[in-house]
């Protein structure tokens, strides 16, 4: 097994910072790659070394396998941590590293390949009798795809085989809409992924998104670190995650987690991964997909188990045995992650860009902040608009919610529109507090999640503050003596 002397992080932003903190604690030097737009980012300042990479777009630079391998040579890094996104689930990247004798901190390339294609992963589950929602693929059904999809019954979900992020997804409520929905989904899938292949799956109403963190070493040991509830989503992307899942029956929890471990064993899984499930209101659960990497929401698992997943990933990658058995995994209290985005919840969650004029993050014992920005930086359209993650821990869910609200209150971002107030309204919502959550939570409660109306006195105070902080209003040169205002304010 390899020794790991120096690790290159093929990523940026908060996850690069998060990995660097663990490397610092383990006394392993950490290098990063960075595009010019990130030159002054906290990750670059934290890293011992940074290698500049370039590309047609900033994202393309972080996806350029050969430049990253060059950066390993330059820095002498003998291992790469891919973080999440970018090359984290790219089997070709893992293979190239292995050819160069560089350790990829993640699973084997063949596992990434198997689980990365949704149709291949489905077939694997069918062959091994893992629970899967009734479904039919275009590839299997051919000409009869619409007919066989109709046989599953409505409601149906049409999804892109190569998909993700809600692209190429259509819900069919009435069979007569099926043909059109298939056409729409294929068109969207073709545009988004360059692959129009779709499949149809039974649509579970009021589903919960429950996922299980697993970690496996190279000696055949696999443990799960409990589940995460990730049902609060907008645009099919998570914004609040927690562990444990509220109100989950202990027996059902045990079965879901055991299934995740079995799937991992069967795939010959190595390193950290997440098995995602859809949980129906009747307690049936179905395999959704496996993410063969660290996930954005991994800190909630760390908060309740007291483990450092990045450290475990590195130790496993250098051949160590898992430090604990399943029976030794303890879950203590409750953790919630709040994803702070530069976006406007009042305008269909459209991303916002701009300068971070004021940027203050909360602090405290039970709060962990994963952040890749600082005051004065600009949020650009080059990357995902996530600013930071606030993760809170409490002895129970009620206390975690309270601490989440306090953390949001202590957060101050001025210069871009953020979803901070929106997150506050979700945490304060009675349906959220009682744990009545499912992936349709946000559309279902749209009305009660919109901002409360502004009173006239409050409105006028805001207008006054804006006026008095504007240079034109305060510059005496622009002042109009009161008697003359009727002639208007146009000067020169």
């Amino acid at each position: 097994m390899p020794t790991i002397k120096k690790i290159l992080i093929a990523n940026r932003g908060e996850i690069a910072c998060r990995i660097l903190r663990t490397l610092d604690r383990m006394a392993i030097p950490g290098a990063v790659v960075c595009h010019a737009v990130d030159k002054f980012s906290p990750a670059v300042r934290m890293a011992a070394e940074a290698v500049e990479i370039d590309g047609p777009t900033p994202v393309a630079a972080y996806l350029d396998v050969e430049q990253i391998i060059d950066a390993c040579r330059q820095t002498g890094a003998d291992a790469v941590h891919p973080g999440f996104g970018f090359l984290a689930e790219n089997a070709g990247f893992a293979k190239r590293l292995s050819e160069e004798g560089i350790t990829f901190i993640g699973p084997l390339p063949e596992t990434i390949e198997l689980m990365g294609n949704k149709v291949a992963a489905r077939t694997f589950c069918i062959d091994n009798d893992f629970p899967l929602a009734p479904s039919v693929t275009e590839a299997d059904a051919g000409e009869d795809f619409a007919g066989q999809a109709g046989d599953i019954g409505v409601p149906l979900l049409i999804k892109a085989a190569a998909g993700g992020g809600g692209k190429g997804m259509q819900i069919v409520e009435e069979l007569e809409d099926l043909a059109q929905a298939i056409q729409l989904a294929k068109g969207e899938a073709q545009r988004a992924f360059g692959n129009g292949e779709v499949y149809a799956e039974r649509y579970v109403e009021r589903p919960r998104h429950i996922e299980v963190q697993v970690i496996a070493d190279h000696h055949g040991n696999v443990v799960h670190l409990g589940e995460r509830e990730c049902s609060i989503q907008r645009r099919f992307q998570k914004i609040i995650e927690e562990s444990p899942a509220p109100g989950l029956d202990p027996d059902l929890r045990a079965r879901i987690c055991a299934t995740a471990v079995e799937i991992s064993r069967k795939t010959g899984y190595r390193n950290a991964g997440t098995v995602e499930f859809i949980l129906a209101p009747d307690g049936e659960f179905y395999f959704l997909e496996m993410n063969t990497r660290l996930q954005v929401e991994h800190p909630v698992t760390e908060m309740v188990t007291g483990l450092d997943l990045v450290e475990m990933q590195i130790r496993v990658a250098r051949g160590e045995t898992l430090p604990l058995t399943q029976g030794q995994v303890q879950v203590d209290g409750h953790a919630i992650e709040l994803r702070l985005y530069a976006e406007d919840p009042q305008n269909d969650f459209l991303p916002d860009t701009g300068p971070l004029l004021t940027y203050r993050m909360p602090s405290g014992d039970a709060v962990r902040v994963e952040n890749g920005f600082c005051e004065g930086m600009t949020v650009s359209s080059a990357f995902d608009p996530m600013l930071a993650k606030l993760i809170v821990h409490g002895k129970d869910r009620g206390q975690a919610i309270e601490r989440g609200l306090k953390a949001l209150k202590d957060t101050l971002v001025l210069g871009v529109t953020t979803n901070a107030d929106y997150l506050t309204r979700i945490l304060s919502h009675p349906a959220y507090a009682s744990g009545r959550i499912h992936t349709g939570f946000i559309p279902k409660h749209a009305a009660s999640l919109s901002p409360p109306p502004l009173g006239e006195a409050e409105r006028n105070l805001l207008l006054a503050a804006a006026a008095l902080s504007n240079r034109e209003f305060t510059d005496p040169a622009f002042n109009v003596p009161e008697p003359y205002t009727f002639i208007g304010n146009w000067r020169n």
């Binding site: 994202v59 992020g165 692209k167 545009r191 988004a192 645009r235 305008n347 459209l350 991303p351 916002d352 860009t353 701009g354 300068p355 004029l357 004021t358 650009s380 359209s381 080059a382 990357f383 995902d384 608009p385 209150k409 101050l412 971002v413 001025l414 210069g415 529109t417 953020t418 901070a420 107030d421 506050t424 901002p451 502004l454 006195a457 409050e458 409105r459 006028n460 105070l461 805001l462 207008l463 006054a464 503050a465 804006a466 006026a467 008095l468 902080s469 504007n470 034109e472 209003f473 305060t474 005496p476 622009f478 002042n479 109009v480 003596p481 009161e482 205002t485 208007g488 304010n489 146009w490």
Partner: protein
């Protein structure tokens, strides 16, 4: 000094009278009231208007004020009179503008094409999210300002419409 200030999609006319230190402020045609924005020893800002007051946090960039007050964040735009005049003659509704910076993915209309309100004209990508830009009203495409692969800034003109020739 009078300006239009936009808050939560509503337009407000705000007038400030007098010299700093003894200013009064009027919202629409309401009663002008004494107004002051002060900073206390701890650096907290306080806005006072008549007998109302509030602790606020504020950052200003150009004509935009970002304010945190009453446990909420607000964005207020002070509208330049020139822009305001352009909007009032209806200039903006002829042009579909970029809601955010991004890249053009696909254009489904060409100059001369008739379009109906809500019809998809162009797909843009920003921060990995695809967004369709639709026709703001019925009409005919007068000009397409961008090509697939082009990048643009927020508010950039993408497509201009004209009245349909009957």
């Amino acid at each position: 000094m009078q300006r239009r200030i936009d808050l939560l999609d509503e337009h407000h006319t705000v007038t400030v009278f007098g010299q700093p230190g003894e200013q009064r402020l009027q919202v629409a045609d309401g009663e002008p009231q004494p107004v002051a924005l002060t900073v206390d020893a701890a650096g907290h800002r306080v806005i006072q208007l008549g007998d109302q007051r509030a602790d606020i946090q504020i950052a200003v960039k150009g004509e935009t004020a970002y304010i945190r007050a009453f446990d909420h964040s607000f964005t207020l735009h002070i509208v330049d009179p020139v822009d305001q005049a352009a909007q009032e003659v209806g200039g903006s509704s002829n042009t579909a503008r970029a809601p955010m910076p991004g890249t053009v993915v696909e254009i489904t209309v060409a100059a001369g094409d008739p379009v109906t309100k809500g019809q998809s004209m162009i797909t843009i990508e920003s921060m990995k999210i695809l967004t369709m830009i639709t026709a703001p009203r019925d009409g005919e495409v007068s000009q397409v300002h961008v090509e697939p692969g082009d990048t643009f800034d927020k508010n950039a003109a993408l497509i201009t419409l004209r009245e349909k020739e009957e």
